[in-house]
């Protein structure tokens, strides 16, 4: 029985990675849910918007590094982020003007807009690859670790190491800050309130004189900012590869739908729920149990519910269960 080692192992391989991953999913899901709330369609291009925003950030980061500017222990990418958000915002507005507005004017059915967004997705995917290539890029600089696993082992004398990457802490802190800012914006500003009104009841909102084009514009700008931030945090924490963001689309949509489409709070809860489930279901608990159980009772097998190959299957399963039993999601969003 060795409670401390068990807890450290659990934190190192489950709690810390899942929390960081959850924060990244939550930010992504917020963007999806926002577009769904205002424009009433599932934006499949969101994953590639994240990739494009991150590509902008990487290019700007390289520029800043070339000029010799850095943030000391923090990644330079944070400095480049606001500019990248502005660029992504411009791309979002341009896409809306050239593509989505046409279908909005025609009052196209949501399913048509979904297909349109898939087209946008492929174009954006191509632009991202064209812009920055298909190779893996690591753009995190500055201090890599807050707690180094090896140093932790030596300092505490424990058998298990605990690694806490600075990017993981940064991810969670940034996510909390962004979410707080978003909620303040939605609840306290005039624009935020009009967005909520528009989302709740479009006709009433129009009657009370809210300009729909303005609301749509703000929705795209915020979605672009959220996507870029989520993409950059994911890229800093893991690595950037144009294609991996496309794969993130599934867990992000699962998060948004589980939480309830259109509900910002639901997107956050959904993000963490999906992240914790994915990691916990595919983690092999052999080591933790070996520490916890008395000698001689240690498990022979790996005590792994699912092979890591089936990580995405977890998102799918949760999605199906929620849609079967609570179609509006945990936080009473809109039914899909």
């Amino acid at each position: 029985m060795d409670l401390v080692n068990a807890l450290v192992a659990l934190a190192n391989f489950v709690l810390i990675p899942a929390t960081a991953y959850g924060a990244q999913l939550a930010l992504g899901a917020l963007g999806v849910t926002l577009i769904y709330g205002i424009l009433r369609f599932s934006n499949f291009a969101h994953g590639d918007t994240m990739a494009l925003g991150t590509a902008f950030t990487i290019l700007l980061t390289w520029g800043l590094q070339g000029l010799g500017i850095s943030l000391g222990p923090l990644p330079t990418a944070l400095l480049a982020l606001p500019f990248a958000i502005a660029l992504t915002g411009l791309v979002m507005l341009a896409t809306d003007r050239s593509v989505y507005r046409f279908y909005r004017k025609k009052k196209a059915a949501p399913v048509i807009l979904v297909i349109v967004s898939m087209g946008v997705m492929f174009v954006m995917n191509g632009i991202t690859r064209f812009l920055i290539g298909v190779d893996e890029i690591r753009f995190a600089d500055g201090e890599r670790f807050l707690i180094n696993a090896r140093a932790f082992k030596e300092a505490t004398g424990l058998e298990e190491g605990l690694a806490l990457r600075s990017t993981q802490v940064l991810t969670v802190v940034t996510a909390v800050a962004v979410v707080a800012l978003l909620f303040w914006f939605l609840n306290n500003t005039r624009t935020g309130k009009s967005m909520r009104a528009f989302s709740d009841n479009e006709d009433l909102a129009l009657l009370s004189g809210i300009n729909p084009e303005r609301v749509v514009m703000y929705a795209w700008l915020i979605a672009g900012a959220l996507a870029t931030t989520a993409g950059v945090l994911y890229g800093l924490d893991k690595s950037f590869k144009a294609f991996t963001y496309f794969q993130l689309l599934l867990p992000i949509f699962a998060s948004a739908i589980v939480g309830g489409l259109g509900s910002p709070l639901g997107a956050i809860a959904g993000g963490f729920l999906i992240a914790y489930s994915e990691v916990a279901f595919t983690y092999a608990f052999k080591k933790v149990l070996t520490y916890l159980l008395p000698d001689g009772m240690a498990p022979e097998g790996l005590v792994q519910l699912l092979s890591t190959d089936y990580k995405f299957a977890v998102s799918f399963a949760i999605l199906i269960i929620v849609l079967l039993f609570k179609p509006t999601g945990l936080f009473k969003g809109k039914a899909v």
């Binding site: 391989f13 990675p17 991953y21 893996e136 092999a284 890591t308 190959d309």
Partner: protein, 396 residues
């Protein structure tokens, strides 16, 4: 006019046939696809040997050898079969140097080479599944690359010498990774070691912390990473180092490269590995020849490609015929001892010796020694990480 043209063409053909035979060798490699970065050097290596033989004018009394290239795509068996079919039936190649990846090589062998009776010598297909111990290939298939079954034994030997008895294995989820992981597991367990976990990872993902979590939970003294250095393999190593899940790694052939030094450096101190390579003087000689011809001779499997093409032509000389049916029985004889050792650049001498009836032992650029059903015994360069970069410590 038409008659005149036909007549002149016939005359040219007749004249050509009278002076010397024109031999064609098919070069089927994945010029597009996942290996497209190394296949140009492989093809050029093979053509270097053909050029050497043509220039010597010694093969079958002055025959010229030309290469006809085909694209195996490395992954698309149907496309590879079609390309091989074209080479064999339309271009009438005498033999095939190729293919490169194990899957397409097997497809070409069963669909084209065996039905048409054409000899194939692959420079790089390493799957244990291609060892035809029951003559399924009708003696037509050879390879200058070792089977991964051999690499499994090499890894086991290296680990056992270091006193490592438990290992976790992660492999890239394809024929190469799975074949290597399984051959290592059976060899290691036969030698008394324990494989704690043998789990796949998918290439091209952003995050491997879940995979590493499972590997770490299973434990083991060392992590064997049977993956690709530019793909998931490096991702797994990064995540394992970050979480201190493993201190020691073993890198098979797909993982050894300069990128390990630049990406990880001192973090890998003490880790082990091995990749095909030899300290035979032939390797250095090939590098020189390749450099003079403007080819990257250090590129993976380029020496093996040179050797594959050379073996085909030497076997033709030994058989006294350029037909696959005749030359297939002579490949093993020219490749192995006894006989005069032959290094790269000495093909003219080899052809002369064979003509004079002297036995030769082709060593070539990759120290060729064909065993069993005609595959390379395989020599490996064992490496170890010291002071942030890997160094060759031994040859096996």
């Amino acid at each position: 006019m038409r008659k005149l043209l036909l007549a002149s063409t016939a005359a040219v053909l007749a004249a050509g046939a009278a002076s010397a035979e024109e031999i064609k060798i098919g070069v089927i490699l994945g010029f597009t696809g996942p290996l497209e970065s190394i296949t140009p050097a492989m093809g050029a290596g093979a053509e270097l040997a053909m050029q050497e033989v043509t220039d010597s004018g010694m093969l079958l009394d002055g025959a010229t050898v030309t290469s006809v290239r085909g694209d195996s795509t490395c992954i698309d068996a149907a496309a590879a079969t079609a390309a091989a079919e074209r080479l064999v039936t339309t271009d009438n190649v005498n033999a095939i140097m190729g293919a490169d990846c194990s899957g397409v090589t097997g497809a070409i062998l069963t669909n084209v080479a065996v039905p048409n009776g054409v000899v194939m010598i692959s420079p790089s297909a390493t799957s244990p599944g291609l060892s035809h111990t029951n003559n399924e290939d009708q003696g037509l298939f050879f390879r200058t690359a070792p089977s991964d079954a051999r690499q499994g034994v090499v890894i086991t030997d290296i680990l056992m010498e270091k006193g490592i008895t438990s290992a976790a294995v992660t492999y890239t989820n394809n024929d190469y990774g799975k074949g290597l992981a399984d051959s290592f597991q059976s060899a290691f367990e036969a030698a008394g070691g324990t494989v704690t976990i043998n789990a796949a990872h998918e290439d091209g993902k952003g995050d491997y912390s879940a995979e590493v979590g499972a590997l770490a939970s299973a434990g083991g003294d060392i992590l064997v990473v049977a993956g690709y250095i530019d793909q998931g393999g490096s991702g797994v190593v990064r995540a394992a180092l970050d979480t201190a899940a493993f201190d020691m790694f073993y890198f098979p052939d797909g993982m050894v490269g300069e990128a390990l030094n630049t990406n990880f450096g001192a973090e890998l101190n003490g880790s082990l590995g091995a990749y095909p390579g030899t300290d035979s003087p032939g390797a250095a000689k090939f590098q020189e020849m390749a450099a003079a011809a403007g080819i990257d001779g250090t590129s993976a499997f380029a020496p093996e490609s040179y050797d594959a093409a050379a073996l085909i032509m030497l076997a033709m000389q030994a058989a006294g015929s350029s037909a696959s049916a005749d030359l297939k029985d002579h490949v093993m004889a020219v490749a192995n001892a006894p006989g005069e050792p032959i290094y790269p650049g000495e093909l003219a001498k080899a052809l002369e010796l064979i003509k004079a009836g002297t036995d030769i032992d082709y060593v070539g650029a990759s120290a060729v020694e064909l065993i069993g059903p005609g595959e390379s015994a395989g020599s490996y360069r064992q490496i170890e990480f010291i002071d942030g970069k890997y160094d060759t410590v031994n040859f096996r």
